[in-house]
Symmetry: C2
Subunit: 184 residues, 2 copies
């Protein structure tokens, strides 16, 4: 169950979020981006582009480290068609992830696609596979988080280099070390 029991090498993972509605759901897409970053994805492709979210995650990266980025895409179909890797659409209608995970883990590069409420039907055909995290109505943030946690180990502090600050895990309260103050 625990990701650290996974054997590497692990797939390199990017996420594509389609159906974002700038202005309407900045918080939900921000959550998609934060989960993608915290769980080891390298990049979020965002359709349509939203510079506010790109900048917000850039600010998170400046503070907390790592190379994660949000890249706006105007033509998500071109990205999916041209992707040099395996394209996995996370959908409640797909095949159960329990039965697909071992195969996905052997891929070198994955693009995980999450949609909003209305997903264009052609995505089901364009994706290499359609995979369900529970065959129930589900949050795309939750589905993405579980897929990432099953595909890769949870990142540790060293996976986010050049951080200005780092959390020092503790049983109670909050402790954060600033660069130069405490060496992890």
């Amino acid at each position: 169950m625990r990701a650290r029991h996974l054997r590497g090498p692990y797939p390199r993972i990017a996420v594509l979020r389609i159906g974002h509605r700038p202005g309407r759901d900045p918080r939900l897409t921000t959550h998609v981006a934060l989960s993608a970053r915290a769980l080891g994805a390298e990049r979020l492709y965002l359709h349509p582009p939203d510079p506010a979210i790109t900048e917000r995650l850039r600010a998170v990266g400046r503070r907390w480290g790592g190379g994660f980025e949000v890249v706006g895409v105007s033509d998500w179909r071109a990205l999916v068609r041209g992707y040099s890797g395996n394209v996995v659409h996370l959908s409640m209608y797909g095949l159960p992830i329990d039965r697909r995970i071992a195969r996905l883990r052997r891929r070198s590069r994955l693009l995980l696609v999450v949609g909003g409420a209305k997903v264009p039907g052609e995505l089901y055909r364009l994706a290499d596979s359609n995979v369900a995290v529970g065959s129930q109505p589900q949050s795309e943030v939750g589905a993405l988080a579980i897929a990432l946690a099953w595909l890769r180990p949870l990142p540790g502090p060293r996976d986010f280099p050049n951080a200005l600050q780092r959390i020092q895990p503790r049983a109670r309260g909050k402790r954060v070390s600033r660069r130069g103050a405490v060496r992890p």
Copy 2:
């Protein structure tokens, strides 16, 4: 890694979401509720109460089955103090979940607490433990989803009895059976 490799019995899990802002973030809290339901929690306690979300999840349950419910709570401290089970606060500042999960899995009842942006400091003391899903800024939906997926197997169709409709998983497109139409 896969939940079906977990050995039962599994803890019974409820979720407490505090810091909900009715009107401001109905979608985010809806995502918390949908993930909790899809991943096997029995109940979401919601502070402050929000009848609109309780009703929305009731409608999901009527259609998709199961006994999940959203229960509004006015006094979350009383709920946490009086809870007859282990109270686990999911926080980026807590101890890494990898190191706590085996212990949590042996509990019979868990209350997983997720907050919004600002969590009252006393929650860190009131909880039995503070646990981090990645020591990075993270979505509470993502953190909750991973915790649930590591604590219990992904629910199957039979875990949602009395459904009016069920998904028939497939590699392409969508298939849903209505009650009486297709027997699973």
